[in-house]
Amino acid sequence: MNRLILFYISVVFLAIGCGEEREPRIKVREGVGSDSLISNVVTRPVVKAFSSLIGAGIVIDEAVARRNDAGFLELHVNGHNKSYNTKRFRYRVEWLDSDGLVIETKTSVWLRVSAMGKSPFSFKVVAPRTEAVDFRMDTKKWE
């Protein structure tokens, strides 16, 4: 009898998990999409608590610098938030000339960005001078 119940529960869980249509470009969040074995009403609080405990945060996957048609260097930053909670942070980009010196500009201020939990994020920064050939970026918590 116990075996039968266990089998039934397993089938139900598997059915929930298999019912999802996976389109990598579309994020279906909890409460919108179906629950799965990994993410359901029982496991979610545990996973979130663990994520907070280990201090999961954002990861920068790539930083692409390219010159736009107007001749300005553009920085495209792509990353993802490993945490289950929305991460808000600030970033500041300084532009460097061919000698590696910082170009003074009013645009080098701390700007805000937020990344939803377990989601990718991206932002773009444009150098205000054509002399910019490189950059350096710093981040800090958004209080």
């Binding site: 736009n68 048609d69 107007a70 001749g71 300005f72 553009e74 500009t105 009013k106 645009t107 080098s108 201020v109 701390w110 700007l111 805000r112 773009k124 920064v125 444009v126 205000p128 001078r129 054509t130 209080e143």
Partner: protein, 200 residues
């Protein structure tokens, strides 16, 4: 006894005098201060940065022949409850446009007019001035592009204790000859805080 009381009073006075909030200079670059409900310099810095990046990144200031556009600052309306000098925003944007090397700003017309440009021309008939040093007729350059915009505010009651204040910064760049708009951008700065805070 009297001396003791006097000593205690002096001690307390000194202690209280020391407890007052001391004045500190703000670290403008890495300010860790708490946000305020009204617009402060950080909001203007961040908004100006976002607007400049959008404008320059759009390529609207890049002239095909490689020469520079002449840009005039038009009217920037302050429709907030705060007394804002719109130059607080525009000075940063104008500075960055100039430094970009893609455009020059004009002081001949618009809200950035320099009175002296016109006053010196009124000296044409003055015998006190060497006439060869006074600008000739037809030397001013008309602007090709104009920047205009608006800053406005919406106050919303969020719940019993909190209010939400939304500030909208809108800027647009238009061709002075054709009236066509080449670029525009809106930045929203939203704040949520105590209803007791006054956002002006």
């Amino acid at each position: 006894m009297k001396a003791k009381t006097l000593l205690i009073i002096i001690l307390f006075s000194n202690l209280f005098a020391g407890c007052g909030e001391k004045t500190t200079n703000i670290d403008i670059v890495h300010d860790e201060g708490k946000p305020v409900m009204a617009l402060d310099y950080r909001d203007f810095d961040q908004t100006a940065s976002a607007l400049v990046q959008s404008l320059l990144g759009s390529g609207a200031l890049k002239k095909e022949d490689g020469s520079r556009y002449v840009v005039a600052t038009g009217r920037i309306t302050n429709d907030t409850m705060q007394r804002i000098d719109t130059d607080q925003l525009m000075a940063k944007i104008e500075e960055e446009i100039l430094n970009s090397g893609q455009a020059v700003m004009t002081s001949a017309v618009g809200s950035g007019t320099d009175k002296l440009v016109h006053e010196t021309r009124e000296l044409r008939d003055s015998e006190e001035f060497d006439q060869s040093t006074i600008a000739e007729r037809g030397t001013l350059i008309a602007p090709e592009l104009s920047i205009s915009g608006k800053i406005f505010q919406r106050n919303i009651r969020y719940d019993k204790k909190r209010q939400q204040v939304e500030y909208y910064f809108q800027l647009k760049l238009s061709d002075a000859k054709t009236g066509l708009r080449f670029w525009q951008k809106e930045i929203i700065v939203g704040k949520r805080g105590s209803s007791k805070s006054v956002a002006w």
